[in-house]
Subunit: 266 residues, 2 copies
């Protein structure tokens, strides 16, 4: 899958790109079912809120076949290869829950802030791609992006280890206000299967979710192979050390898997 | 101001009614300025989050002229008199902040649950009216209403004194899920000056606000005089004991006040 000129231009100037319905309902349904099963597992890769609700499941592409396929899917890999002009490896892979009723906040941050400080990633030549597993609505804690904020480079940040259960390099209110005054806030929403790409320096956050609607999103962090991390401090199931270039599977691979999965369940 | 038939019918069936731009930008600007000044005061009627940010200022109609006028404004009093067919007094008056960056959550609840249990109000013949002082957006913690939930009467609730700084009789997740499955969730949003009325038994809540946009709303709780509270347990600046029927001021009163206020400031 190739991005057209209007899409690449939007990514360059605005720092983000939303592709509604990049995956079909059938393709995404199997991943939603698998994600719910993974959250019920008891394993170190799954982080929980103090309430016990799941917050993030790391590295599911290493222990689940559906997510392995998603992590090598051409509809995700090829557009990023196109934008970077380089081969990619998987730096991080997580399924964020934003659970119904008590999905917690993610404070304003840049992802590259963490990749640089905690993992020793040389340049912001890595991209986060969000794949919606549930419908993302205005009311269930959608990702809020600050358009154009990626043009400000890597901003000063503080290591927040208290607000929520996941340590994060967060920005101060003054910086966020300044960037929002310039660029506003956008919240791409839509049906399961939507895909959002955003620059590693794009400022973003999300509020809590008190609705009965869960809002699961898979995040792939694809890093240029030459930009591999130099001084990792986090476990290898959070910041991967396998820098092998990803070989995309066929475009039909996830659909075929979904059908096999459904047949096996019947 | 009288509601038309379509409006009264919507209130009866859906439990809420939104009147965009009920107050002009000029009328509401003065109240916004006054609210910000009140939040800077140090007085017992102002409750704060643990961060120090204001959460609620009670009873401002008793110590501020602009809010005194708002509390007797015909655009608020007359529609509720029309719906109830009775004279009204002010049961509660508060300015909720939902501050920028750290405005906290309000869990799912019915207001009448608190008025009945804490104040000894005989019947749900009281109405909350929200007056938007700031723009209410999808992203800054708008009120979320569950349409038609008022038809279920007063639901079992638990006294939540831990989640946030304001004790509240909150509903359990199962009940909320059941009601939302039936009625969905609506979030009226819009410019400052918008007015929303909702039934005392309508289930509602709001998520936190991490945006740089504050979301101040004034809430009048108008109670039918004959439905005065019998066994109050809260201070009289939270649950008022003055049951005198409200005499509406002229429709121009707030506009005139805004102009006097601006002249005095110049």
């Amino acid at each position: 899958m190739r991005l057209n000129e209007q899409q690449t231009r939007q990514f360059e100037t605005e720092g983000w790109l939303f592709l509604p319905e990049a995956f079909s309902a059938e393709e995404v349904a199997v991943l939603r079912t698998e994600a719910e099963a993974i959250y019920r597992e008891d394993r170190k890769e799954i982080w929980r809120e103090t309430s016990g609700s799941p917050r993030t499941a790391f590295a599911a592409h290493t222990y689940n076949e559906g997510f392995r396929i998603l992590g090598t899917h051409p509809r995700l890999i090829e557009p990023v290869e196109q934008l970077f002009g380089e081969h990619l490896y998987m730096h991080q892979f997580k399924i964020n829950a934003k659970s119904a009723f008590d999905g917690a906040v993610w404070q304003w941050h840049q992802d590259y802030g963490t990749w640089a400080r905690d993992d020793g990633m040389p340049e912001p030549k890595a991209m986060n791609i969000a794949v919606f597993l549930d419908e993302v609505m205005a009311i269930n804690g959608p990702l809020m992006l600050v358009p154009r904020s990626h043009r400000h480079g890597t901003l000063a940040a503080e290591h927040d280890v208290s607000t929520t259960s996941y340590p994060l390099w967060t920005l101060d209110n003054e910086t966020v206000k300044r960037l929002v005054d310039e660029g506003g806030i956008v919240t791409p929403i839509g049906a399961p299967g939507g895909v959002m790409m955003f620059h590693g320096n794009l400022v973003h956050g999300s509020a809590g979710n008190i609705t009965p609607y869960p809002r699961k999103i898979v995040y792939l962090t694809l890093n240029a192979v030459a930009n591999y991390i130099r001084t990792p401090t986090r476990p290898d199931w959070i910041a991967h050390r396998d820098f092998t270039p990803i070989e995309p599977v066929g475009d039909e691979a996830l659909l075929h898997y979904a059908r096999r999965f459904r047949q096996a369940a019947e």
